[in-house]
Symmetry: C2
């Protein structure tokens, strides 16, 4: 299928062609079951195999310790903005690091349910950086400390794990999960909307340390209760069965490439190619501070809004989609998740060079 | 693909083979866009076309009046058990008709958020019937009156619309939506989990009368707010993009068959074949009262639990899956949603006759 394009969308985003081809081949009849995965009872033996294999693969790939539960939930990361405080605010106060738009939305949502303290922020420079450890003012008695591990819109990424003593660290990893190895044991909760590195939109994966379960707020919507979801194997009601299956295919692809260590190498290589080029020219400006740069979302501009618009227009004509930056930053953004091949990066850089030559 | 089986699952459930084949064909490259629907930014022009066409098709097929909003939400019907009281309990009290397991779950969830009055119940005979109008004790001042339009587990269906004066009627139509024409104007809210007649699991469709919007409870999870979802075109966050696309394909299939009037004729024919056979023999007993029978879920048994188990086992060997009844009823259940072809019914009846002959 040579007419596929390079899709730089921030999410939903590019998926490996081999994964899509396998999904297509299995669509009408999954492994001789006589039915599509979409048609399967979530309580059937064949579907049990699918969800159990997906969870086992995620545990293998991420090295999730046994004292963590894996939950497949609905509503994306935004629903987790509500679920986190409702499950974890035991004494009623939490710390938030505000490093971007979604980090801020998470913080605002938590305010509905308790006392929220902004323990770090990079809003002073339009979120162009990640605060350093000594810029964090953490409350040692907070119920948890929340970060957004990768800021899709601004192109920044936490490149260290903040030291917080005994306060559980909660991370929204929607846009960088599965892009690099993670020491899960350093986190209380990791959650991620699926639609970047995990498959189609419509699911959030939650990885939660067992000792944090059992404190869900009374008289709140039943489906956001982590303990209930853990006790029911994510099947209190019908889970997003097809999204779970697709995550299984995505994990199979990652394992085939050699797991997260290899995936990280590829992502370093891909992002470095782009950043190296950006650093080599004065025509383009990289938005994020060097030490805070994201491997997943590369934000840049020409310093001229008209020229930026011309760049985006011409890039579409050249077979690359969704390079327009978010309105909160302007300019351009190349989202280069796991499934973006190196050829896509090379094509983009070639295009950028051409554009520079023509417009310098 | 002749090795497909007849899948009598209560949900997720059978889908038309032509729909699955189209999804497979479009999986890697949707209509020359160069990408899968799964990979599309939900804010792109091509995806705009998909979601808008899906909503327009639903409005055409169901005849949804202009003063109703259509919302695509996540969390299935169970999330709506929470969302309905949170959006509609303005004075703080609601009526519930308890006609089965999910109706009861909806009622229990609403109790978290206000005063709940059981206005009708069929629990006295294990939910084998739908209460008649004169068995309903409705509160004229309730904020709404909630029914479960089709009770999947027990095999009963509301075959009339209760008369409630000005109290908005709210219906969970998860298991019979799109199976028959519905006069939407008689309802305040219709909602349905997708995984029976609307496509894969992971979505709920909500059809809500505009004048009921704007009363969402303060300090509750942001994503359950009907008004917010209406104002944002179901895109406050990333919606379940692929499920919405699949619903579009399902609606295209229904329109190709002639719409809900023709669909109802087929469903009457299919269910009548089964009920006629059940009524013609003493070997099998139909569970639901005649006037309350569901066209979607046909519950029956032999009166002998061992024989029921043998029936289920033999039916699997004969290429029919998921005929085992729910544990709350026992016996057998044939879920025969829109996508179950008449050949599946004929095969089931042939098998039932054989089984009767052998075991009488």
């Amino acid at each position: 299928m040579s007419d596929r394009i390079f899709n730089f969308s921030a999410g939903p985003s590019m998926m490996p062609q081999s994964v899509l081809e396998k999904a297509a081949a299995q669509m009408v009849n999954y492994e001789g079951s006589g039915m599509s995965v979409m048609e399967m009872s979530h309580r059937s033996k064949v579907y049990d195999g699918i969800i159990n294999n997906t969870e086992a693969a995620l545990r293998r790939v991420m090295g999730i310790p046994d004292n963590y539960k894996v939950l497949f939930m609905q509503g994306g990361a935004t629903m987790q903005f509500s679920a986190v405080p409702l499950n974890l605010m035991v004494t009623g106060k939490a710390d938030y690091a505000v490093t971007g738009n979604f980090a801020k939305n998470a913080m605002k949502e938590a305010k509905k349910f308790g006392e929220v303290h902004i323990a770090a922020s990079s809003e002073d420079r339009n979120f162009a950086y990640i605060p350093k450890q000594d810029q964090i003012n953490a409350d040692p008695n907070a119920d948890y400390f929340h970060i957004c591990a990768n800021n899709t819109i601004f192109g920044t990424e936490w490149n260290y794990i903040p030291e917080l003593g005994n306060v559980p660290l909660v991370a929204d990893m929607s846009s960088n999960i599965l892009s690099r190895p993670v020491d899960v044991s350093k986190y209380g909760v990791i959650y991620a909307g699926a639609q970047k590195n995990m498959g189609p939109a419509g699911m959030a994966v939650v990885i939660v340390r067992e000792d944090l379960l059992g404190h869900y707020r009374e008289n709140m919507p039943v489906l956001l209760d982590y303990k209930l979801m853990a006790d029911k194997g994510s099947m209190y009601n019908t889970p997003p069965t097809y999204a779970i299956y697709m995550l299984g295919l995505m994990l199979e692809w990652i394992e085939g490439l050699g797991g997260l260590t290899e995936m990280e190498k590829l992502n370093i290589k891909k992002s470095q190619l782009l950043y190296d080029y950006l650093d080599s020219t004065d025509f383009y400006v990289a938005v994020a501070d060097k030490d805070s740069r994201s491997r997943m979302n590369v934000t840049f501009n020409t310093g001229n809004a008209e020229l930026d618009a011309a760049f985006v227009k011409a890039s579409v004509e050249a077979g690359m989609s969704n390079l327009k930056g978010h309105r909160l930053v302007g300019g351009m953004r190349a989202s280069i998740y796991n499934a973006m091949p190196i050829e896509g990066i090379e094509k983009l850089i070639g295009f950028m060079q051409e554009f520079e030559k023509k417009n310098k």
